[in-house]
Symmetry: C2
């Protein structure tokens, strides 16, 4: 069940930091063949890095997340997006571990993305931003981890697109990840997942305010982006959680017999859609969803044949998640087992759908806390 | 499995007919309290009405269907939308039965709807068209059935929204329906179904070409309507049927690293979306989806407590249909059984999702043919 967010066990006031690298002529070479630089990543850290630098955990966010995973920004009433999981005594216990979270490359919350200034013409990149992959996002994160002086991460963790980054970290840098926790994710998008993303992109691009991506300084394609987000929200919930939350309750006593939001569920979706456009860049939405669709570490691509990896895995999935169904997590575990990797699969009973990874705090805490502690202990024993 | 459509067992060339009624001052009183008239219904008939007028079957179409259910319009290469089910020797055997199909009230294929001319100002109704319900659609159909001289229908049949009309016929006119075949439908929309409809409506209304419904004589909101249809198509298929049809196949050999349709599934959705706008009116889309969302014959509303009905039911559902999940058909059957109605529930194994009602022809034919023949035989035996 959803846990109450209280300030008592909070990490307290935090600040976002910025790291800039890939200064020309040392740009980052992207999977698509383009070079990009300079690159800034917005990031936050919680807890203290130990002397051996063996207690660092990287948290990777989902599509609409950001670097602000925990604690409070000065003056804010709402904490970071995974505050219930990160803090003293929580799943990611900041009295023991050093937690890092960065806004992904291509994002719009302080990291370089399509809304950033292109140094070539001092205008926002817009569609001149090169198309990226999850691999590019992870390569950028790796620069940040280098910068922080961390040779090997104790853990890389994330749900949904964050889970894709977890898998990508292991595929790209297996020797730098002690344990990996991909949650409610997939080794590749199914055509249904691609289809939902594509309809969201089409909704954005159908909005005349999109202007082929060149809307900066004007109004952004708010209506199209709101529709895209509404589609998203349906897929994040389950049939059952919608029934429990809204059923067929009306906002007024009777049908309006107009095209206003009669049903509570309609009002909720419109609210979530309208709210999203205030805090998210439409082009970032296009680039990030495309990166998710291109992502494919299925089969031998996760761990190449003949390669042995020592990374331990905890793969978590949720029973009512129909956007990232159980079989996709099971496929990841199957591939890991075939390569003789140390992998545990945990299926959490939940009615929350895909949103469960943000809501099933008690269950996740129970599983993750134990797994991390055991990995950390093994780490230090081996080092002695 | 999908059956090949061949001209051999086709009803042949057919024509759409038109019936106009509710001439002022005898307008139809709608559920929303408004009066509407005159009303025209486009309809087609196949086979011959017998002398006793006991062999008439009414087919009700789904959201985007029309009166042209079977046979070929002069010069057309494609037959009507349920041609594989209607014709000599088929599920609805036109050598035995007289089959009627009408475009629903509110539609845009010849029946009165928002794109029709409002007699008050000689302009298209647009949003001056009163909001309708499934009950209103059925009341209009009832006028057509009266006009055809049919006192009691042998059967009312339909899938999806067509199935809602089947249930409504029994609720409104139980003595006029010998047997009812609701397929892949629900006694009420869940909040998830309302949510999908609402996002589709929002996509239409977000398009500036919609002009608050007043787009006739100008271009219609093509982009918004195409997005709405794309969302629909995802919900009509299943995860598995999309995997079988498209998997992750690309249209070109490699990723384009642009926002074109890389994946086949993207191209398919765009094609279906673009195609739909050529043949459907955006305002009809709004009105019809709203009617589906308002529809509620759950619980006692289908058959009031204490009422006994003699209509026989064959309720058909498909295993991979996640838009109208099995439990919704099972709920209908439960309510019928509680009221001691004669109801049979048939669950068809299929990977086609909601589209199965248009594709699982062999299974449907097997079930329906037998059920109809038995009902018809019982009918005539009783009459002798």
């Amino acid at each position: 069940m959803e846990e109450k967010k209280t300030k008592e066990n909070s990490i307290g006031v935090v600040e976002t930091k910025y790291f800039t690298f890939a200064q020309p002529p040392n740009e980052l070479l992207l999977d698509g063949g383009h070079k990009l630089g300079p690159i800034t990543l917005a990031y936050e850290t919680y807890g203290e890095l130990n002397q051996d630098k063996t207690n660092a955990i990287l948290i990777c966010h989902a599509l609409s997340g950001d670097a602000h995973a925990a604690g409070y920004h000065q003056g804010d009433k709402e904490p970071g997006w995974w505050d219930s999981m990160i803090g003293p005594g929580k799943a990611f216990d900041t009295t023991k571990y050093f937690v890092v979270c960065s806004n992904c490359l291509g994002g719009c919350k302080g990291s370089t993305g399509p809304s950033s200034i292109n140094p070539i013409n001092s205008k926002p990149y817009a569609l001149d931003f090169p198309i990226l992959t999850i691999g590019d996002m992870v390569d950028a994160q790796r620069h940040l981890i280098d910068h922080l002086g961390i040779k090997k991460l104790l853990s890389v963790v994330g749900g949904s697109m964050g889970g894709m980054q977890v898998l990508q970290w292991v595929a790209s840098y297996p020797d730098r990840v002690k344990c990996a926790i991909p949650i409610a994710t997939a080794a590749k998008h199914s055509p249904q997942q691609i289809a939902f993303d594509e309809v969201g992109r089409q909704a954005v691009m159908a909005d005349p305010d999109w202007h082929k991506g060149d809307y900066y300084g004007h109004s952004q394609p708010e209506k199209g982006l709101a529709v895209a987000r509404m589609i998203g929200h349906i897929t994040y919930m389950s049939d059952q959680s919608m029934e429990e939350k809204f059923s067929r309750r009306l906002k007024e006593k009777n049908y309006s017999f107009k095209f206003t939001s009669d049903f509570e569920v309609e009002g909720y979706l419109r609210y979530r859609g309208d709210n999203f456009v205030k805090r998210f860049d439409a082009n970032s939405y296009l680039y990030i969803t495309k990166a998710m669709d291109y992502f494919d570490l299925s089969g031998d691509k996760l761990i190449p044949i003949g390669k042995k990896i020592e990374t331990r895995f905890l793969v978590i999935a949720f029973q009512s998640d129909w956007l990232y169904p159980l079989y996709q997590s099971q496929d990841i575990v199957r591939q890991l087992k075939i390569r003789h990797a140390d992998a545990t699969y945990c299926e959490i009973k939940s009615t929350y759908g895909h949103d469960a990874f943000l809501l099933e705090i008690a269950e996740e805490t129970h599983l993750i806390k134990h797994f991390l502690d055991k990995t950390f202990l093994g780490y230090n024993v081996k080092r002695i």
